[in-house]
């Protein structure tokens, strides 16, 4: 599939506007008469709401309106269930979705209770102090295990328990495998929450034009079309009366999906009430509460092995924290459950999870979306098994890998897209060999391992592998048009938050329609341009929207050649398309530009043949029957200070297989950036709450994002095993960088410290937490 543009390291079409400050982000939108909104949010994580008094706020000069739940009337509704429960036998799922403003009971700290609309954001925030709120605090549900016992309270009292869901998936017979095993290891693994922390916070601007009956919404969303459809219904408008535009978005990483956040639902409604444009921009402090988060889970996992290191079976029971509501269904725990199997041949598997309601902000996918947990549990179990059996860490992985002839591999579990979990293609051993070589793993074997540095810092290495289910359905579409200027326009329904779609999708189209990438404009995330689609998530943009662009471009190519053949009076097979023109092979005088063809395709007079469609334009859709599985190996070399437990990552290698690569430069950026997020998750980023559900580090002073001195250069190499079920052969890559990072980090740090009894079975870590783990391993002495 490689062509002139596909597969090339091209600079991006969108960069000039971003580099000059011209690109329009949500907070850059200004409209005449614009009003500004500020929210008052609960200080308590769990409390009964007795009264809200807005009278003083409404009297403050500059305030236009103030609203609490009671003012919303019929507009107050629970949000939609975004992903329903998958078809799994015996599944229990209790749907409890978020509300626009608290009416009776606060379920998490930061839940919005009321809002003020004013002439400026400064005035709106002033007026928040005028609002009197009466709350009776209740004990907060924070601990997952206590929550399941109904302690200290019940989040959704009508349910009678804090169980949100229960799901069991199995393959083979784990019990029998366990009985025949030579070794069974059983461990507990803890993962805790972090924030997506896009540098741009969320925002919504809405403008209702009553005369034109048009609601215009700008929204920091990854999925403008579902937001348009949902809000139209909510507002009582036709879909054609509502447009949603996602402008340039300053990073998303999952939480900017079609959430129907309270602010998303309320700002357009306020614009209709007041007949004026309205803006709300989240501030950083709000972002720590009001934007969805991930990833607390507790796993009790068991691996049964033969003495030679072969995995006979795995049993895993885990708790998943969904926070106060569960609008995103079971996507995250299903991802954890399915991704745990990794690159390995696991004949017997029993996986069971319980989803738990807590008094914490809502949990929905954040880059990786539960895959991290599965990989962490599996890779750590393999490390522990290797230690117990005296097998090399790399070799235990190799001997359990699925072989190159084992594809397609049917696991038989139900995946997040409700299809049967199937790996379409893969080839794991070459990636492992390459990573082992690049990181210099052999230096760490036997007695020859590197001695501590002169500074006393201990040296260690970690090597782990992973798979990533990518490119899931249901579908995306694209419209490709040749404009009368000869330039090409592509419209798709997905959103873009920095992934480079303006360039990578153009590269796909350029090869078909014979124009330079710089002459192709791509629009994403604008319902005025494209009416059908779902959005950008699950590493699916390049796969699903990419193949849709390819299909539409093929149709346009056929139209170009058909018309050119007519006008140049030459058979299509003698025509050459490229350089924005069509030429007759061997006859340089007979040529026509795409611009002239585009004009000719839209005649103003005369007759056309029956069935003729005007324009050089086509729309096509792509809907894969199932996703495509990417894979890779991460290897990391660390130095650990045995006194301070400062960890320095001195080398990082990723050997990645995402099938055919559209733009290697953009792919490298995705991987390097993903690894940085994985490093943050492993060692820096931890949302710390107390027993009252109060977040203790809600600022960038206290919640640490990795900086340029914490993230090393990632050395990246690729193996190319094309996707088998899609024309382009591409697999997704957006999340791969951050999925196995914590597992590699834990293994490398453990290896560096070399302390008997030290097993790192939790994430996130910190120097302080490492100190405690080492102290515990040494029996209380550090």
């Amino acid at each position: 599939m490689s062509g002139r543009f596909f597969g090339r390291r091209l600079p991006r079409n969108e960069d000039a506007s971003l580099l000059t400050g011209a690109a329009q982000f949500i907070d850059d939108i200004d409209l005449p008469g614009l009003l500004h909104v500020a929210f008052v949010r609960s200080d308590y994580a769990h409390a009964r709401l007795n009264n809200v008094d807005l009278s003083r706020a409404r009297r403050r000069p500059g305030v236009v309106a103030a609203y609490a739940a009671a003012d919303l009337g019929d507009y107050w509704q629970h949000g939609p269930l975004l992903v329903g429960p998958p078809p799994i036998d015996g599944l229990i799922f209790h749907e409890r979705t978020q509300v626009p403003l608290v009416r009776d009971k606060v379920l998490y700290a930061g839940e919005p209770i009321a809002l003020v609309v004013a002439d400026s954001r400064y005035l709106a925030e002033d007026a928040l102090m005028d609002i009197a709120i009466e709350l009776d605090p209740l004990p907060a549900v924070v601990d997952l295990e206590a929550a399941l016992r109904g302690e200290p309270a019940i989040v959704h009292e009508d349910l009678g328990s804090n169980l949100a869901a229960h799901c069991v998936q199995t393959k083979g017979d784990y019990g029998a495998a366990c009985e025949s095993a030579d070794l069974v290891i059983r461990r507990r693994f803890d993962y805790d929450r972090g924030a997506a922390a896009a540098i741009e916070n969320r925002g919504v601007v809405a403008s209702w034009d009553a005369r034109a009956r048009k609601m215009m919404i700008w929204d920091t969303t990854q999925a403008p079309i579902p937001v348009r459809n949902g809000l139209a219904r909510w507002l009582g408008l036709a879909e054609r009366e509502v447009d949603v535009v996602a402008p340039f978005i300053g990073g998303a990483f999952g939480p900017k999906i079609m959430m129907f956040y309270p602010e998303e639902v309320l700002i357009p409604w306020i614009s209709m009430q007041l007949g004026r444009p309205v803006k709300w921009i989240e501030d950083r402090s709000e972002n720590f509460y009001a934007t969805t988060q991930e990833r607390a889970q507790i796993h009790e996992a068991e691996m049964a092995l033969a003495t030679d290191g072969r995995i006979l079976g795995i049993r895993d029971e885990f708790l998943h924290d969904t926070g106060a509501y569960d609008p995103y269904g079971l996507t995250i725990p299903i991802n954890s459950q399915c991704t745990l199997l990794g690159c390995y041949d696991v004949p017997n598997y029993h996986s069971e999870f319980r989803v738990v309601f807590t008094n914490r902000p809502i949990v929905t996918p954040v880059r990786g979306a539960g895959r991290q947990h599965g990989v962490f549990v599996m890779e750590r179990l393999l490390d522990i098994a290797a230690g117990e059996l005296g097998i090399d860490r790399v070799e235990i992985r190799r001997l359990n890998y699925l072989g190159p002839d084992d594809f397609p591999h049917h696991h038989g579990l139900v995946y997040q897209d409700f299809s049967s979990l199937t790996y379409d293609s893969g080839n794991y051993e070459p990636a492992l060999d390459r990573a082992v070589e690049l990181i210099g793993y052999r230096e760490f074997e036997g007695d020859e391992r590197p001695p501590p540095r002169q500074s006393g810092r201990r040296v260690g290495v970690g090597v782990v592998s992973y798979v990533e289910g990518t490119g899931i359905g249901p579908y995306e579409g694209a419209r490709v048009s040749v404009e009368p200027s000869g330039k090409v326009h592509v419209a798709t329904g997905v959103g873009t938050q920095g992934q480079g779609h303006y360039t990578s999708l153009a590269q796909i189209v350029a090869d078909q329609v014979g124009v330079d990438v710089a002459d192709i404009s791509v629009v994403t995330g604008d319902t005025r341009e494209f009416n059908w689609g779902t959005g950008t998530f699950a590493s699916r943009g390049a796969v699903v929207a990419g193949n849709a662009c390819h299909a539409a471009a093929e149709l346009v190519r056929a139209k170009i050649l058909r018309l050119a053949s007519e006008l140049l009076e030459a058979p299509e097979e003698h025509l050459l398309l490229g350089g924005s023109e069509v030429r007759v092979d061997g006859d340089p005088e007979r040529r026509i530009t795409l611009a002239d063809l585009a004009v000719a395709s839209n005649p103003l007079r005369g007759a056309v043949a029956p069935g003729t469609e005007p324009g050089l334009e086509a729309t096509a859709y792509f809907g894969p029957s199932r996703g495509t599985t990417a894979s890779g190996v991460h290897a990391m070399r660390v130095e650990v200070d045995p006194e301070t437990f400062d960890v320095d990552i001195v080398d990082y290698v990723v050997v990645h297989d995402c099938g055919r690569v559209i733009n290697p430069m953009i792919l490298d950026g995705q991987i390097q950036g993903g690894v940085a997020q994985g490093i943050g998750n492993a060692f820096y980023e931890h949302l710390v709450v107390d027993d009252n559900g109060q977040l203790l580090n809600a600022s960038f002073m206290d919640y640490l994002l990795p900086t340029a001195t914490d993230v090393p250069r990632v050395r990246i190499d690729h193996i190319e095993t094309p996707a088998t079920d899609t024309p382009l052969g591409v697999k997704g890559a957006g999340e791969a960088g951050c999925i196995p990072t914590a597992a590699a980090f834990a293994q490398a740090v453990e290896d560096a410290l070399g302390i008997d009894g030290l097993e790192i079975r939790e994430i996130p870590l910190s120097p302080n937490r490492l100190f405690e783990l080492v102290r515990d391993a040494r029996g209380g002495e550090s």
Binding site: A16, F25, A708
Partner: protein, 163 residues
């Protein structure tokens, strides 16, 4: 209160509340929206502008404090009235040093004095120079590469003594 300052080479006057942040003055009053606000507490660096030539977080300064000072924002970086980009912007594009681009203006304004001063910065120097700015997309490496590339090109004509 009255303020009078220079912004991107132009004399600017305004009447502002004492509490108005410089970042809001630049973005809302002057409509120079290339300066972005990511945290409003001086950590992320997205709002960095040059004040009398030095990088400053415009969310940590009031507009009234800028009275009489000379401010440069990202809009002034590329040569005016042309399609050209500044060598630092060119290097960012060539090395893919931006993804979503939201933090990018802050990085550019932080790094501009650094690349102007340093002909051959080491990788460690570059990392230290940009360690006060947060980027969530790139993992920083390509930004480091961009700075090295821009420094090399901007100082290509410097005297032998620096080479």
């Amino acid at each position: 209160m009255d303020v009078r300052l220079r912004v991107n080479g132009c004399e600017v006057t305004g009447v502002v509340e004492p509490r108005l942040l410089l970042s809001d003055f630049i973005r809302v009053d002057l409509r120079l929206t290339g300066t972005h606000v990511g945290c409003e507490h001086g950590v992320c660096g997205a709002c960095t502008v040059l004040v009398d030539g030095a990088p400053v977080r415009s969310c940590l300064m009031f507009a009234v404090q800028a009275d009489g000072l000379d401010i440069s924002t990202v809009e002034a970086l590329a040569p005016a009235g042309t399609e050209e980009l500044h060598p630092l912007q060119v290097a960012f594009r060539e090395t893919h040093a931006l993804q979503c681009g939201f933090c990018t203006p802050g990085f550019l304004m932080t790094l501009l004095p650094f690349v102007e001063r340093n002909a051959q910065p080491s990788e460690d120097d570059i990392r230290a120079a940009l360690s006060g700015n947060l980027c969530r997309c790139t993992g920083y490496q390509h930004i480091v590469d961009a700075v090295a590339l821009a420094a090399r090109r901007m100082h290509a004509d410097d005297g032998e003594s620096e080479g």
